[in-house]
Amino acid sequence: MEYSPSVLGQMLFTGALMGSIYGAVAMGFSLIFGVAKIVNFAHGGVVVWVMYGVLLAARSGVAHPYVAGLVAIPLCYWIGHGVQRTLMARVSAMSDDMQIIYTFGLLLVLTYMAQFFFGPDVHYLPTSGRSVEFGGVVLQAETIIAGALALGSALALHAFLSRTWLGKAIRASADNRRGAMLIGLDVTRLSRVAMALSFALAALAGTILITVTTFYPLRAFELAVLAFVIVVLGGMDNVFASFVAGVLIGMLEALGTLIFSPSIAQMAIYALIFAVLLVRPQGLLSRQATK
């Protein structure tokens, strides 16, 4: 097989773009773990519900997917606030295994409620058919937009967390909850903001995903595992690192597909994460020297 520049280019770009989308999925999960120390498997379920919401809006002609997404994001932010108050408040105090079970239960509830209401069928939104071509590389317009949105939100989030007062406060309470309380930060409110942001990110992820791929209720499980694995690889303390790790995984997938096959690429990705964890247990991109 000839690995011509266009073939390689196609692989690189698609891999990077898909990886950014994976990163967007992982960021919300990472944020809530980093701040509230909650392993939230239900994150995948939220993404899928958003996808259904956007689907309904688009199919019924009410709104274009991106517009629906614009509505979904603040809506989910508000919902996230409420969820933290009701469901998640006690979760941060739970031990690891309790959290896993609790959020997994929540994931089941979300996923199968979606299946109950919407059926198990596969859906996807028809694409505009517009694409960008250069040098033999063909990129779907939606994919580019999705990748750009993902990157944009990652940068925005990074800026928020490192430059704004609220962002720094959130990071402070994540690093040292007690210390943050002692200096007068309202850690509960900060956790709430973090959770709300996490939901908003899920909404973003759902919106861009639905413009790009097929979905059905059980995607939620795949997304939950994907987010988990990405965040473990990238390191839990840094949301931007999760994004980068997502891009990395997207590119590995593309590379593995080109050289071997997608199935083997999956195995290679898992094997790689395994190796990384053993050598650098705090995650590939974590800022900590040791865990």
């Binding site: 392993v39 239960g105 199968y112 995650g283 020297a289």
Partner: protein, 608 residues
Amino acid sequence: MKSTFWLPLLVVFTLMAASVPFWGSGYSINLLTQIFLFGFLAAAWNFMALTGLVSLGHAAFFGVGGYATAWIYLNGGANLVVGALTGMALAMFLAFVVYWMAFRSGLRGIYFSGLTLVLAEALRFAAINTPALGRSQGLELVSLHLPPYLLYGLTVALLLLTVAGTWWLLRSPLGYRLQAVRENEGAAEALGVHTFRVKLAATLLSAGLVAIGGALHAVLLRFVEPESDFGLSLSLNLLLGTFLGGTGTVLGPPIGILVLFGLREGIARLGELLALGSSGIYALQQVLYGAVLMLVVVALPDGLVTRVQRWWITSRGASAQTRPAAASPDSSRAAPAVRPAPPAAMSPQARLRDDSPSAANTPYLEVIDVSRSFRGITALTNVSFELCRGEILGLIGPNGAGKTTMFNVISGIFPAQRGEVRFKGERLSALAPHQVCHRGVARTFQIVQPFAALTVLENALIGALARHARIAEAREAALAALAQVDLHAKRDLPATSLTLQDRKMLEFARALATGPELILLDEVMAGLNESEKSQIADKILEIRDTGVSFLLVEHNMRAVMQLSDRIVVLDHGKVVATGLPSEIAHDPGVISVYLGRSLAHAPVSRAA
């Protein structure tokens, strides 16, 4: 008390289980075998959970066991036993390699869970892509015809053995150490527990048993394939079942699995009753199942077994309340006879050494030129001092002076980057905390960390296990240590029910139980009122008289001055002054370090 509750239950169960082959159809026997197999798997998973680590990838070992059995059956002459044993050995080897590396890297919490999950998934994909293993279709153990009651009997036997094994383990030295590690690894390490070895032992045991389960499963269903054998749902079900019943308990895992199965069946039947049309029912069933899981976590965080046990205890009402009360008069009446005379018990070692004339005044603990920095921040610079046997040496200094770092270096939590620490002439600096403990140096922690799930006696027992291999002897030593700090009467109470002062005494007792010659006390007086402080001070002096030396870090000037024979003053990681309390109190350098006020008013030490 516990055994009288569960023992009749177990007997009834065994009888019922043994009767099944006589009246059950092939179908029932198979179904029960599957349920008991999962109960056995959960009990095996439980061993791993005893270390406090949540493994989401036990399917890796299960699958290795199953596939090895299947492959050897098909290619190696239809020998099932060889296959199962090979699978077990492979799984244990895999576990050894993986967890050895993981523990060395210090993987914990969600990272560890992630590692295990990734391992199982990697193996699943490897199986999917390997032609020799049948790829996605897996392997079939064709023409394998074992009578169902044989498999059933084997499964029941394994389940009972594992449950019994768990009961025995929890009462063995390894079991106590495991519980300590699970509660608080750092504290356990300081008490001489070789945490790495303990966790690895539990892991290997767990992996080996789960592999046997995988082998049995392969024989039972006559096939292995990637999803059933390496799938995430298997690992999740083990977690769920064990948690539901109660992680770390003896009967929890199998009971939890039983309840899990029952729950699923119940929801399925409910679905049939409601007759909503199949995809509707299925979806709602899963929703209900998920909701129940969430509810269980909130309502039964310790699992069913623990909850039932507590209910059993409280339902016995008055008799339960009088029992502890009855215990104390009993123990106090028996005390004169049973209670070991503390000085006699503790001092033989110390006395022997005291008697040798040359031993007096030789440096016991030598800190020589120790330097340590963390990521550019220098915590200690060329710190040197000595502690003689039988001495109480006080280490003081303002906040951030490096006192706790010094402790951590001595007790082996951090190595010294330059210089060394010697104890009785031997190097201490390169040792791990548990080794330091075995050499005779114990420590307490600034923030008291009792092992919450254990009783007072059991807490002390952990320390005693550092010196005594057998439970019986360790128990005696633990009782002696408790007696020394006047906690003997409260020995059966849960550690969490103690007051702060008692908890400090418990820390003390734990350290004492390790039979130390030197104890590092890290701010033992913090948080106590005046009378409590003087009680502890008296205790320290009492114990010093039995031959134990002390290195104290304390903020309370009065106490340090009164207690210490000598004082070392640290500031910004350097030794500023060494000498008698009276000298230190008037040393201008020291005073300026502290800005003087409290020091100027400290009374001179009595011991001088």
